[in-house]
């Protein structure tokens, strides 16, 4: 009977965790469609006056980190880089868009050169309409002061987000949730006590919530090791040609090795370049 109860108690948290983790992937933002002002009609009588054509455009606005460089991609291609202001707000307008379905992606680089994950929004752009995606909140950047620690040693987890945001740090495999607050410059730091962690590999990630209530999705996941393990990352972030970007060239290298083995391209180290490796490449895409 006791064994059965243990079985139930072990599985309930697992199932609940599976549910929360799927929601954690979801990105919150909203889209709004506003008709473009129609060009002034008739009048004048001068004849031959040039009238600007009414072409749809896309507006992206939200928060990142103070002074962050925000890279904007359309259908995976980098089209512009803008800067967030000192309060982490940004706004970009992409004019002259052909009507259709577009995937708009954004990633940011913080003041220390750390990159966020890429977040994407798929929207329909219609003729004569301004499509505005607002309330975008890019996930925080995250870094560690070391990737291997002795059990009981302190591990600094840090990064940048919007000023004075609440940061929730998650550590797995032992599911530990910690909170901290970002400074007015958006910097955040948490000193993790590794005593409760088992020896072996662990993951950590963080998400943020602004004082105004905007919530981000989770940051990228970092792996660290407790004990005598060592962190070895081969071709991190699917950057196969090591040019600091994950783009069409890395995709081409993957196509070349598709169905074969290459220690660099085989991101999940399962012995073959296949579907999960493609998914990892798309996750780290920078354009």
């Amino acid at each position: 009977m006791l064994k059965r109860m243990l079985f139930i108690l072990t599985f309930i948290p697992f199932l609940v965790f599976a549910q929360t983790s799927s929601q954690d992937l979801f990105i919150s933002a909203k889209v709004n469609f506003r008709p473009l002002p129609s060009p002034p009609s008739g009048g004048g009588g001068g004849g031959g006056a040039f009238m600007p054509s009414v072409v749809p455009s896309i507006v992206l606005q939200g928060k990142a980190y103070p002074g962050a460089k925000i890279n904007i991609l359309i259908d995976g291609k980098l089209i512009t880089i803008i800067n967030a202001d000192s309060l982490a707000n940004f706004k970009a307008e992409i004019p002259n868009i052909t009507p259709g379905i577009y995937t708009l992606s954004l990633w940011a680089e913080d003041k220390d050169g750390r990159k966020s994950i890429t977040v994407s929004f798929t929207v329909s752009v219609r003729s004569g309409v301004i499509t505005t995606i607002s309330d975008i909140f890019l996930p925080p950047t995250i870094d560690l002061d070391k990737f291997s620690v002795a059990r009981g040693e302190k591990l600094n987890i840090f990064g940048q987000t919007a000023p004075e945001s609440k940061i929730t740090i998650s550590v797995a495999s032992s599911e530990i949730i910690k909170e901290t607050k970002a400074t007015k410059y958006g910097e955040w730091k948490y000193e993790l006590d590794t005593s409760p962690l088992e020896e072996g590999s662990h993951n950590t990630r963080a998400k943020a919530e602004t004082p105004e209530g905007l919530s981000s999705s989770f940051s990228r996941v970092l792996t660290f090791y407790v004990g005598k393990y060592e962190a070895k990352e081969i071709c991190p972030r699917a950057d196969f040609n090591k040019d600091g970007k994950t783009n069409l060239i890395d995709f081409s290298i993957m196509l070349y090795w598709w169905g074969k083995y290459n220690p660099c391209v085989d991101q999940n180290q399962d012995g073959i370049v296949n579907l999960p490796d493609f998914s990892i490449l798309l996750y780290y895409w920078t354009g």
């Binding site: 139930i8 199932l15 599976a18 329909s124 995709f251 081409s252 999960p276």
Partner: protein, 311 residues
């Protein structure tokens, strides 16, 4: 005791099913639109392949569709307005086996339509079917996603999403209309917009093509979809190809042109101009040296002449 065990298992299983199944079953739903319809012999109709992500974020899709090859001919596959912008395996139609397959991806992922989005931006692609002119009365046929179909989460680990596969059923009526339905021809006639602008990137990597130069390119078409690409190096002829393309001219002296053609025949051509190489430094030094030597010689001659005349 055995009865007690059985009862216990049933009770526990029921608790799990009722409490947790709705949570665990969450995942992507692959479906066809329309999911049913009636068509006549000779009709051409379009079936959309769509996804409902159910609040998951996905980034990779592998789809295998089986269609009734006896009554339907898969004429084409349109990627126009697809949410997939990278095609690892382009859509392939195998009429003999009655299969259509592709592998595609969305950089940065797809998390479903945003709140406020009135349309359904969840299209993978569109299959264009033509009803075969067969005899023998009314038929019905099913479209199915096969078990090998996969959708992966945008979580950085390539985790497979739980999949629900829905089918479509079509009824083929035994007669032929005076003017058969032509949904695809109408779409082609409407499309007068070329593929989206794109650029050619040139690269070299020891990992592929033995370290030789290659180009990469990719674009989308928002109406009928990309049909194919062609490449032209210098004065050579256009060559139908795909990205990545291994350059024939490894000296990089030729102008490279890439043409993207959509299903309606609209084209967009982009060019890559080879970088202008700087003037070789050794020629500049040699030329400079000759000028100095020449000038020195002239000065020497002038001085010699002066000396001669003064004497």
């Amino acid at each position: 005791m055995k009865n007690y065990n059985l009862k216990f298992k049933i009770i526990i299983s029921s608790i799990f099913i009722f409490l947790f199944l709705p949570l665990v079953a969450k995942g992507a739903i692959l479906y066809f639109e329309p999911s049913k319809g009636e068509y006549h012999l000779g009709d051409t109709f379009i079936v959309d392949l769509r996804v409902d992500t159910e609040e998951e974020c996905i980034n990779t899709v592998k789809v295998i569709v089986a269609f009734p090859k006896e009554i339907l001919e898969a004429k084409d596959f349109s990627t126009g307005n697809s949410i997939l912008s990278l095609w690892l395996e382009s859509p392939k139609i195998d009429q003999k086996e009655g299969l259509i397959s592709f592998v595609g991806g969305i950089p940065g992922g797809f998390c479903g339509p945003l709140p406020g989005e009135p349309e359904k931006p969840n299209l993978f692609g569109r299959i264009i079917f033509k009803v075969k002119e067969i005899t023998g009365g009314q038929f019905s046929g099913k479209l199915n996603f096969l078990e090998g179909s996969q959708v992966l989460l945008n979580d950085g680990f390539g985790t497979p999403a739980k999949l629900t596969l829905k089918e479509a059923v079509f009824t083929i009526l035994p007669e032929k209309l005076e003017v058969p339905k032509g949904e695809w021809q109408e779409e082609l006639a409407k499309d007068d917009i070329p593929p989206e602008p794109f650029e050619i990137k040139i690269s070299q990597d020891p990992n592929i093509f033995g370290g030789k130069y290659f180009i990469v390119f990719s674009t989308t078409d928002k109406q009928t979809g990309i049909d194919h690409y062609e490449v032209k190096e210098g004065k050579k002829n256009w060559k139908r190809t795909e990205s990545p393309y291994l350059l024939e001219d490894q000296s990089l002296k030729s102008i490279i042109k890439v043409k993207a053609v959509d299903k309606a025949g609209n084209e967009r051509i982009v060019e890559y101009l080879p970088p202008q190489k700087p003037f070789p430094w050794w020629i500049a030094i040699l030329f400079g040296g000759l000028i100095i030597l020449g000038s020195g010689y002239l000065v020497y001659k002038k001085l010699k002449f002066k000396n001669k005349t003064s004497k």
